[in-house]
Symmetry: C2
Subunit: 201 residues, 2 copies
C-alpha cells in the first residue's frame, strides 16, 4: 500500500473524523468546505487518488459512498501456538484477530498470546488465557515477559538480566528458574505482558 501525501492524509483524517462525529462520511462539498477548496472537484480528485492507493473504496452512484478500507492496525492478532523458528507474528501463528477496542485495555497491546501450560498459575495466568503483549513497553526486572529461547517462545517473570546471565522465573513452585547465557544460547525478549483476558471462567 503506497504512502499518502500530506494533503491526502489530511483528507483521510477528515473523513474519519466526520464518521466518528456524525456516523457517516462527508460529501465532496463537505470536504471542500472544510479545507477551503473552491471546487468540490478538488475533493473528488483527492478521493480518487486515495482510492488508487487503497485506503478507501468509492461506491459510485451512492451519496457519501466512501468506505474505509479495513485497516489491519485496527485488528489485534491473537497468537495461538507459535511455530518453532519463525517470527511470532507470522501469518500461520495468527489464530484470529480481534478489533482494537477503545480503551478496554492498554492501547499499547501489539498482540495477544494464548497461554500454554501452567507455569504462571501462581500469579493468576492460566492455560488458555490471552495475554496482551506490548513490544514497546520497557521490560525491566520484575516484568512478566515473552521470551524466545532457542526458538521456543515462553512467558516468564524476568528476574535478572546481565550481559552473560538472564534469569527467567516460572510463577509455579513446581518449576525451576531458567538460567540462560545469551552469549551461548539464542535469547530474545519479544515483549512484556501488560494485560490479560479470560474468555470463559
Amino acid at each position: 500500500m503506497k504512502n499518502l501525501t500530506k494533503r491526502q492524509e489530511e483528507i483521510l483524517n477528515l473523513i474519519k473524523a466526520h464518521i466518528l462525529d456524525l456516523g457517516f462520511p462527508p460529501t465532496r462539498a463537505d470536504i471542500a468546505r472544510s479545507l477551503g477548496f473552491k471546487s468540490p472537484n478538488a475533493a473528488e480528485q483527492h478521493l480518487r487518488a486515495i482510492e488508487k492507493k487503497g485506503f478507501i473504496k468509492i461506491l459510485s452512484g451512492a451519496s457519501r459512498g466512501i468506505v474505509l478500507s479495513e485497516n489491519e492496525n485496527d485488528q489485534i492478532p491473537v497468537i495461538g501456538l507459535v511455530a518453532a523458528g519463525g517470527p511470532i507474528l507470522a501469518e500461520e501463528n495468527i489464530e484470529k484477530t480481534i478489533p482494537r477496542s477503545n480503551n478496554l485495555l492498554s492501547d499499547d497491546i501489539d498482540y495477544y498470546l494464548r497461554v500454554k501450560g501452567d507455569s504462571m498459575v501462581d500469579i493468576g495466568i492460566f492455560e488458555e488465557d490471552l495475554i496482551g503483549v506490548s513490544k514497546s513497553a520497557n521490560t525491566k526486572v520484575g516484568s512478566v515477559v515473552v521470551a524466545r529461547i532457542n526458538n521456543e517462545v515462553t512467558v516468564k517473570t524476568l528476574i535478572e538480566m546481565s550481559q552473560n546471565k538472564v534469569v527467567l522465573r516460572p510463577e509455579n513452585q513446581n518449576y525451576n528458574d531458567i538460567i540462560v547465557n545469551p552469549q551461548v544460547e539464542e535469547l530474545a525478549i519479544e515483549g512484556s505482558c501488560v494485560a490479560l483476558l479470560r474468555e470463559s471462567i
Copy 2:
C-alpha cells in the same frame, strides 16, 4: 424513551446493519427497497416516528443524515465497591463505563465487577481483576457466581443449591465454604461470571 413498534424496530435494525456493513446509513429509497415498500415516503414516515421516540436524529437536508442516538447499552458499567444495601447497578457503585467492544469477550456481559480480596486466587481470579458478569447466563452447580448474602456481595463457586441449603466455595484453601439457608438468610444469585479482564500484570 417510548417503545418502538415491531416495524419501527425492524427499520432501526436495518439502519444499524447498513452502517455496520457499509459504514454509512441507508437512504429512504434503500430502506423502502429492503422492506418492499413501493414508496420512499413510507420509510420517511417511519423515520419521523422513530425520531419522535428518540432513537435517531434526522439531519435535515443531508443525504443519509440519520444519526443513531447514544445508546447507553453500548457502555458496560464497571462496578467498584458495592455499597451495602442497594442494588449492584446503582449509580453510586459505577466506577466507570467501558464501550461494549465487538466480540472481544462474550456479548452476554451485563457489567464488570472489580474483585476485592483473595478468596478466588486458586482459579486465577485476583484482587483488582475485572470479572464479566452475566445476569442471564444460567447459574448451575460449578459456576462461579456473584451472590448477595445479607446485603453483602461476593464472588464464589456455587457447589450446592437446594431449597434450604446453598453452598458457596471460595477457591482458596485458607477459606471455608459458606453455607447458607436461604429460608433464614437473605440470598440472591446476582449473575454468573463469564469472563475476566486484568488491566495490568
